[in-house]
Amino acid sequence: MLRYVAKRLLLLVPVLIGLSILVFAYVRALPGGPAIALLGERATQESVEAINRELGLDQPIFVQYLRYAGNLIQGDFGSSVLSRRPVVEELLDRFPATVELGFAAILFAVLAGVPLGFIAAKRYQGVLDNASLVASLIGISFPVFFLALIMKYIFAVRLGWLPSIGRLDITRSLEHPTNFYLLDAVIVGDWAAFVDVVKHLLMPAIALGTIPLAIIARITRAATLDVLSEDYVRTARAKGLTTAVIDRRHILKNSLLPVVTVIGLQTGLLLTGAILTETVFAWPGVGTWMLNAINNRDYAVLQGGIVFFAFLVVVVNLLVDVSYAFLNPRIRYQ
């Protein structure tokens, strides 16, 4: 197992090198450039050249890449053209916000989706089963941003129950040792702030979690239906185990494997969904960060951000593969 993990991690190296070259080339192929984005379309030739010189963009492209790669190895992702802050520093600000949002969304999706799919399968072709199938089809037909806007309209504008933007009320001050606001509130022991953070998190998480919820419910249903007809379930029933025990130990546990896969596959989807959700709720996460970087041709942020996320997706996939072995002892990696 350990050897398998090590091999997978080693394979990461060529992937990341290839990726850094691709991303580097892509960012420079974009029309316009940071100078135009900073100065506007009517900038003079001299001022554009001055900025390009300052950013090292007047050098030949391979020199630029080598310098970039050299810095990257030392953990230096460069600095944002716009804010002049190091990319790593901005990432540490932004990343926890998106992780917090993503976790909350997945938690919502799993807590609601697994029981829903399980019950639907147990009541196969009953009213509840059909209703949940229809509901999940409608669920995946909603664009994330539209769902977010509807919720914002109902719960923030009309009812005024939940705040509509940001992670924390601007009048509230909270220390941020980790930038995971929920964790920060717990560490500091500020329970009023904790409630406020939860309130801010609720709508974005539900908006982002709805499509994963629909997918997880469907997968759980299908997997449970598969398991229900297995011989070992009949055996368990025949030897007189109670329904609750069979459900929990024999059915649910065995139907969770595909669910774990789907959760892993959702990471990329969550990231793209986060771009849209964060835009609607002015959530200061990586989605809005990358979008700004695209619009401002912020080369360093784009390069660092994309490489970081590719890395993240690969690591999550590895974790999913490893978790298979725990959930299903029949799977052994060589």
Partner: protein
């Protein structure tokens, strides 16, 4: 006529049913398919007959400029927008664009994906390896992110956007068709065709492809749904078609997201147009999948 022949004629011999007639029968019995088809027909009619159905032109000013545009009234059932244009007319015309984007982008993705998948599945070996590793690479990037990247690179023309969205579907179609062909390639009927000397290309196009295409059709239907959502999403991020005269649903919605508080109709009507058109394709695709894939049936 012998007695045996006469009796044979009276016996109701059941027609041997093929995959397609089986599937068709199952689709017809599925209420979801009917709802999906009905919805789709509705949007197609809106798109084709927009000039006849819409009370006004998409750019026509019928009211006055207003900071808080009036909501639905008897005269304007979907209300007016801030420039005094009829929202109903704009939503009806918007169907043209969304269906066009769905159709063209899937056509692009499908044609590229089918060629790559067929080549990969039929020839196998090194060609297969190279194509499939590349497809894996593309699949590892979330589709919408790839579309954002391509649109930023290529520009925001309508065709560039359809191309970008189409490209994101290529690996899905390629892998699907490849898998399907691999499964069919060893089938007895292919062996039979090969043994009577059917040439390779004919073997692929006449025998293998028609029997491998069913899951691809399902996927194409579902891909239309994704394409419509994606173009709306791109527009929402300000990366949609840059022609201001195009009444695209997502763009319309995005431009008015800030007016949610006082003029929610400007967000809701185009938004639900997206939802229902996407739902149409999802319902239809789902029903087709259930009809074609016997494993999904109980």
């Amino acid at each position: 006529m012998s007695i045996a022949e006469a009796e044979a004629a009276q016996l109701s011999v059941e027609q041997p049913s093929g995959l397609w007639s089986d599937a068709w029968r199952r689709v017809r019995r599925n209420p979801a398919a009917w709802v999906g088809a009905g919805l789709l027909l509705f949007f197609v009619i809106c798109a084709v007959f927009a000039p006849l159905l819409a009370p006004y032109g998409p750019q026509e000013t019928v009211g006055s400029l207003a900071a808080v545009p009036p909501g639905p009234t008897a005269e304007y059932p979907f209300g007016l927008d801030e420039q005094g244009r009829d929202v109903l007319s704009r939503v009806i015309y918007g169907a043209r664009l969304s269906l066009l984007v769905g159709l063209v982008s899937v056509a692009i993705g499908l044609s590229l994906g089918l060629v790559l998948g067929a080549v990969s599945g039929y020839f196998g070996g090194r060609v297969d390896g190279v194509i499939m590793r590349f497809m894996d690479l593309m699949l590892s990037i979330p589709g919408f992110l790839l579309a954002i990247g391509l649109v930023t690179l290529l520009g925001r023309g309508l065709f560039q956007i359809m191309f970008a969205i189409g490209i994101t579907t290529v690996p899905i179609f390629a892998r699907l068709l490849r898998g399907s062909i691999l499964a069919q390639r060893e089938a007895d009927y292919v062996l039979a065709a090969r043994s009577v000397g059917t040439p390779g290309f004919r073997l692929l196009t006449v025998h293998i492809l028609p029997n491998s295409i069913a899951p691809v059709i399902v996927q194409a239907t579902l891909a239309m749904a994704t394409a419509i959502i994606d173009v709306a999403g791109l527009s929402f991020l300000g990366l949609g078609p840059n022609d201001p005269s195009l009444p695209e649903w997502g763009k319309f919605l995005a431009e008015n997201a800030a007016r949610l508080q006082n003029s929610a109709h400007l967000v809701f009507f185009p938004g639900f147009a997206v939802v229902f058109s996407v739902l149409a394709f999802n319902l239809l695709g789902d029903a087709l999948r259930e009809a074609i894939d016997p494993k999904l049936r109980a």
